[in-house]
Amino acid sequence: MSDATHGSNGQSGASQTVCLVLVEADGDAVCEATRQALTVARELAGTVEAVVLAADEELARRLAPALAAEGVARVHAVTDPLLAEYGPEAFGAALAQLIRSVEPTGVVAPGTARGNEIMAHAAAVTELSLATGCVAIAVDGDAWSVTRQRWGGVLWEDATLAASVKLATLAPHAVAVQPTPGLEHATVSTFACDLDPTLARTQVAQRTPLGAGVTLSTAPVVVSGGRGVGSAEGFAVLEELAERLGGAVGCSRVATNNGWRPHADQVGQTGTRIAPNLYIACGISGATQHWVGCKDAQRILAINTDPEASLVQRADYAVIGDVQTVLRAVVDELDRARQPADAGAGG
């Protein structure tokens, strides 16, 4: 049962502007990128309401307390049997139907692959304008003024987004989550939509979970190599270090183009963008197209023969020297440090 039925409720009347935020869930939690979107949305309208797309209202109910804590007064549980499994067309059409029912001032979504895809479909269905990859959004009269990433974040573009309902996605890690007083309770409103069953044609047919082990995008530590590693074999010592640290191996485009590493390992604009706790960049110059993929790391350690290399300049820590020599010494030192301090204290 829903706490409220949908439709012309007083809260979303003309006096009170509403901004919707598309929620991406991480299990029973609200993902970080969604919290960033909520932070931005709170500055854009009097009321922020959340949107959860699922087969039933179960997920919206589970997320409601976390969303209330982020200042969300109402959670729209947008439901349809087709939403039981992800499909870009069905999710986009469902969001489009809610937009037409609520007529909010705008919708902000996390700029993840999925967030961007759902918003693009909703924009295509409603024929509304969409600004993706925003790093800042502000109200400008009836429009929004946005700053969005171009060239993977190497450049910023200032633009005006004018539409009856403004659609925008926020580049991940672009803004820090701001604390807010929060609310005790968020109302769950069910919006049963009416999706065309043929949209099942783009539903996920099968999922293959990753095998055991860390992945580039989720590893807490990434040991990454570029031209300075010298060869495919040269990556062995990076593998050794990554294994000891529970991390993953990444690389620059030079390493993929030379066939030293698979493209799946590439960090950067046309590879993966990562935000590990520690990024160890070995023999990588730090071209902007690479930098945008690793700049969100909490700390960066650069190992490079050239103290003037851009990545050395931008790193928190650097070692000046040859990749192979430095890493070999680090791995040996690490193994030594992990031995019991003296035989007597071991065991």
Binding site: A131, T132, W151, A205, P209, T215, T270, A302, Q313, V319
Partner: protein, 250 residues
């Protein structure tokens, strides 16, 4: 396949003095890496199953160069949807591309697959493909790194942080692909000769601007940090291990 002409910068991207645009005087132009994979995939599909591949681009007359790159790779036809030299917003781009494809269809062309790059290297609006697909009534999935056709369907693979997703979409369909889908070939001399001679069809584009208006480009605030040099060569190892300890990794 739909591709876009974009500058090919080095590590730094120069801006014009007023900051309104990229200073392209000393830059070459190229299609984006994702789009190179789209072209390569189309050529491979035609090699394996027959048919023909058409490369289409919306842009100024100079964008014919990128179409010829596509033909050099092995595409059969080129269509230039010609604009003025201004940067069109994604709604205007999609509307004109959709109209051009519909026009070719009315003339009897039949497309089983319409391929796009997931996003352009320069603007990265990540929506032109989806808007075109909706105009043409085609199903579309983005972010594809694996593609296999079989009777009337195309099986698609998308990698996610949790693993991979498989889609089985009925043809005709649209797909937005990502680098890593294949390794694009370097056009052979023969292909480049053919591309130079190939006739390129030009369709005039009608400009229906959308609601996103650009005011110019700028560099993000500088992100240089104070760098602590831990040492030189192998002698730095103990200090590095100490740092790993501070990170809770030892």
């Amino acid at each position: 396949m739909c591709v876009k002409r974009a500058p090919a910068p080095g590590a730094k991207i120069p801006l014009t003095a007023d900051g309104s645009a990229i200073d392209t005087r000393n830059l070459g132009f190229t299609m984006s890496p994702h789009e190179e994979c789209a072209v390569e995939e189309a050529v491979r599909l035609v090699e394996a199953h027959g048919g023909s591949a058409t490369v289409m681009t919306l842009g100024p007359p100079e964008a014919a160069e990128q179409m010829r790159d596509g033909i050099a790779t092995g595409a059969d036809h080129g269509v230039l949807v010609e604009t003025d030299r201004t940067d069109w917003d994604p709604q205007a781009t999609a509307a004109a591309l959709g109209e051009a494809i519909a026009q070719l269809q009315q003339e009897g062309a039949r497309f089983d697959l319409v391929l796009f790059g997931n996003e352009s290297a320069d603007a990265a609006h990540e929506q032109v493909s989806v808007r075109v697909a909706h105009r043409l009534g085609l199903p579309i999935v983005n972010g594809i790194k694996g593609l296999e056709t079989s009777d009337g369907h195309v099986a698609l693979r998308r990698d996610t942080a949790a693993g991979s997703e498989r889609y089985e979409v009925p043809l005709p369909a649209a797909v937005a692909v990502k680098k890593g889908l294949n390794l694009p070939r370097y056009p052979a001399l023969k292909g480049r000769m053919r591309a130079r001679k190939a006739t390129v069809r030009t369709i005039a584009a009608l400009h229906h601007p959308g609601g996103l208006t650009s005011h110019g480009l700028r560099y993000p605030p500088d992100e240089t940090t104070e760098t602590e040099i831990l040492g030189r060569g192998a002698d730095a190892a103990p200090r590095v291990v100490e740092l790993l300890g501070e990170e809770g990794l030892t």
